[in-house]
């Protein structure tokens, strides 16, 4: 009964998405063709560190749009906040790929006119219309920054240096392994299995049928006794490595840099199987009250200078490669460190987070959706 209902809702959502190019979504009118006068205010949901005074204050001065930012701790919290109070409380959200599709299909966000964002044409090609924010050619936001989930290890304790994700699934470092406490971690297991067990036929770690999904969850079940802790905050993982409680684990470049600055002997790498990653998008609420300020903001955060400032502050890679020389000017060597303007092959080696949905893109509806991922993760942690 429930299953049938779910399929119907999905069909309706997909149908709605398909109608978009012709009709324009929710707002009921076409895309704006110019940016009008600012409304004096802009309400944002952002990752902590995404609205630093360093680039928000000059924006407020230049546009007269006062920025009110609410920090969210997780993709799921962002989705929840965007739906609160009929969705008109916030104008924009800096959604990661695992939240953006949920917002698009949930009709919480509206299409944006990329031609109104001057720097969009300078973005690396892969982030102009990525599948996590562009559906059927309709843009639901402007890419911001991205980064890989890396394999982090203590160079003194882990020898020889790992080259494969197998290091976090092998009992060699039992009780010294840490991975994120996040259902999307199932994709990391699936990515590893796609190379180590090709017979499963995993092509996309976010599009798993029942048997592929079970294999990934089983791998994580076997990994569980090896885990010291599933980390929830980046600072948790930093603590674990600093205090010797963990010597190897799945991480972000941000942790590596913080630990190296603290003189902890660590290194990170993208193992031979590739890596999952995150790519963030500024999205515009379907019921935004301050759309002109929102477009001004989209322009502002896409400029090379702001892109560089944010990349260095947070430890990630800008979507706009014109930011690279500015990064090096602000902090010598940082462009290379964060793979600024990386080659297409480096970018393609990363499988970016996206929301698992039952429509696998092969015309069939037999993939496991995010609810099932969440349930499996809860069961796994027990």
């Amino acid at each position: 009964m429930i299953r049938i209902k779910r399929v119907h809702v999905l069909a309706a959502a997909v149908a709605a998405a398909l109608c978009v190019p012709a009709a324009g979504i929710s707002s009921g009118k076409g895309l704006p063709t110019s940016i009008g006068k600012g409304e004096g205010q802009l309400n944002l949901i952002a990752w902590e560190g995404y609205t630093q005074p360093q680039w928000v204050n000059p924006f407020q001065k230049a546009t007269g749009c006062k920025v009110n930012a609410k920090y969210a701790g997780s993709s799921d919290e962002m989705v929840t906040l965007m739906r609160q109070g009929g969705g008109s409380q916030y104008d924009m959200v800096s959604a990661s790929g695992d939240a953006s599709l949920r917002l698009i299909y949930g009709k919480d966000v509206q299409p944006v006119n990329v031609n109104l964002v001057k720097d969009w044409k300078n973005f690396i090609p892969a982030l102009k219309s990525p599948p996590h924010n562009t559906v059927n050619g309709v843009h639901y936001g402007i890419s911001l920054q991205w980064g890989p989930n890396t394999l982090l290890y203590n160079t003194k304790k882990v020898k020889p240096a790992p080259t494969s994700w197998s290091a976090i699934y092998s009992p060699k470092y039992k009780g010294k392994v840490t991975v994120p406490d996040n259902p999307i971690q199932i994709a990391d297991a699936a990515l590893y299995l796609s190379k180590s067990k090709p017979s499963l036929g995993i092509k996309d770690p976010y599009e798993l049928d029942q048997s592929q999904f079970n294999a990934a969850v089983n791998l994580l079940k076997q990994q569980k006794p090896l885990i010291k802790k599933y980390w929830g905050l980046a600072s948790d993982e930093i603590d674990l490595f600093k205090n010797g409680d963990a010597v190897i684990g799945a991480s972000w470049p941000y942790q590596t840099n913080t630990l190296i600055a603290d003189k902890v002997p660590v290194k990170d790498l993208i193992p031979k199987e590739g890596a999952t990653g995150w790519a963030d998008t500024w999205m515009l609420s379907a019921h935004a009250k301050h759309p002109n300020c929102a477009y001004k903001w989209l322009n502002w955060v896409s400029t090379p200078k702001v892109q560089a400032e944010q990349a260095i502050y947070f430890g990630e890679t800008p979507a706009n490669p014109l930011a690279c020389p500015i990064m090096n000017k602000l902090s010598p060597g940082s462009a290379g460190q964060y793979h600024c303007g990386a080659s297409a092959s480096y970018f393609n080696s990363i499988k970016f987070w996206k929301t698992p949905i039952s429509n696998c893109g092969n015309g069939k509806n037999d993939c496991m959706d995010y609810t099932q991922w969440q349930q499996a993760w809860t069961q796994l942690k027990g």
Binding site: V9, S74, E77, K229, T378, G382
Partner: protein
């Protein structure tokens, strides 16, 4: 005051009469005064506390649409079915109750001798110092104390450093359920010491003298006089330690390992991560039921008189 007012002949007569009439009304109807005093707390209790509990309970019989995460107002028992049928949630519930019981027992064992010393042996000055010592940790943030324990138990932490100095092998408690148990026992200990101290202090010296006069030795006096009279205090303290542990999710999150989920963590995840309030409500009903049973037993044992 009232005599001065009675002699007052200023032209505020109607106001004064009204005031006098009002006080007369309250003098004649004693119950009205009681009602007036009780109305604000009763309203707060009824509206804020009971109503929200009832709302919680009602929403546990709804479900969430898996795709849109909207709540569907259709009555069903699906959430409770999931709770009982899934071994993972059973494990979480049993773990929570088990650790809460272990913490309560540990605190009772630790608090009794200390409470006894404070109530019956220590001089006034020593007692004051001990009181400050017991309450001092409560002045700092709970979060800070959990983080401090993390620093102590770490692989490269203070405890292993000290163990190394005296030639003992390293411990591996960090991020395990042992760490969770240790930290809970530490943070809730004052809530056990105070009621135990109160109960022990109220035992009249004459009872103990009478017990001695009747030929009971130290241990017999303790077992047959002191312990039964102090037990309600221990039970009262255990209500705090047990319920506080039962409802906590911060310590398991920060200091727990890969096997440390509490009911609170699942509730938090259901609301904050899956946006599934009905399921969270259903799981939150479990500690409510456990505490209801616990309080019934505690009342039987006379704990409420010792609070």
């Amino acid at each position: 005051m009232s005599t001065v007012e009675a002699l007052d002949t200023t032209p505020h007569r109607p106001l004064r009469t009204a005031r006098l009439r009002l006080s007369g009304f309250f003098w004649r109807h004693r119950w009205a005064k009681g009602l007036l005093l009780l109305a604000p707390p009763v309203l707060a209790f009824g509206l804020v506390y009971l109503a929200s509990l009832i709302a919680l309970f009602i929403s546990s019989f709804w479900t969430v649409n898996p795709f849109t995460t909207d709540i569907e107002h259709i009555w069903n028992l699906q959430n409770y079915k999931t709770l009982f049928e899934s071994s993972a949630y059973r494990t979480v519930a049993l773990r929570t109750i088990g650790i809460a019981a272990a913490v309560t027992l540990t605190d009772a064992v630790l608090a009794f001798p200390l409470g006894y010393f404070m109530a019956r042996i220590a001089s006034g000055r020593t007692r004051a110092i001990l009181f400050v010592g017991v309450l001092l940790p409560l002045w700092s943030s709970y979060l800070v104390r959990v983080y401090i324990w993390r620093l102590i138990l770490n692989q490269d932490g203070v405890l292993n450093w000290a163990l190394g100095k005296v030639g003992l092998p390293d411990q591996n408690f960090a991020y395990t359920n042992i760490a969770v148990w240790l930290i809970f026992s530490y943070v809730w200990l004052p809530f056990m010491i105070l009621p135990v101290y109160g109960a022990l202090e109220r035992i009249p010296d004459s009872y103990i003298e009478a017990s001695r006069d009747l030929g009971a030795r130290g241990f017999a006096t303790f077992r047959r006089v002191i312990l039964p009279l102090a037990l309600p205090g221990v039970i009262a303290g255990s209500i705090f330690t047990f319920s506080l542990t039962l409802g906590d999710y911060v310590t398991p999150l920060l200091a727990g390992g890969s096997n440390s989920q509490f009911i609170g963590n699942v509730v938090y995840g259901s609301v904050g991560i899956s946006n599934n309030v009905p399921f969270a409500a259903a799981f939150a009903a479990v500690p409510l039921a456990v505490m209801a049973v616990y309080l019934l037993i505690a009342r039987r044992l006379g704990a409420f008189e010792a609070m």
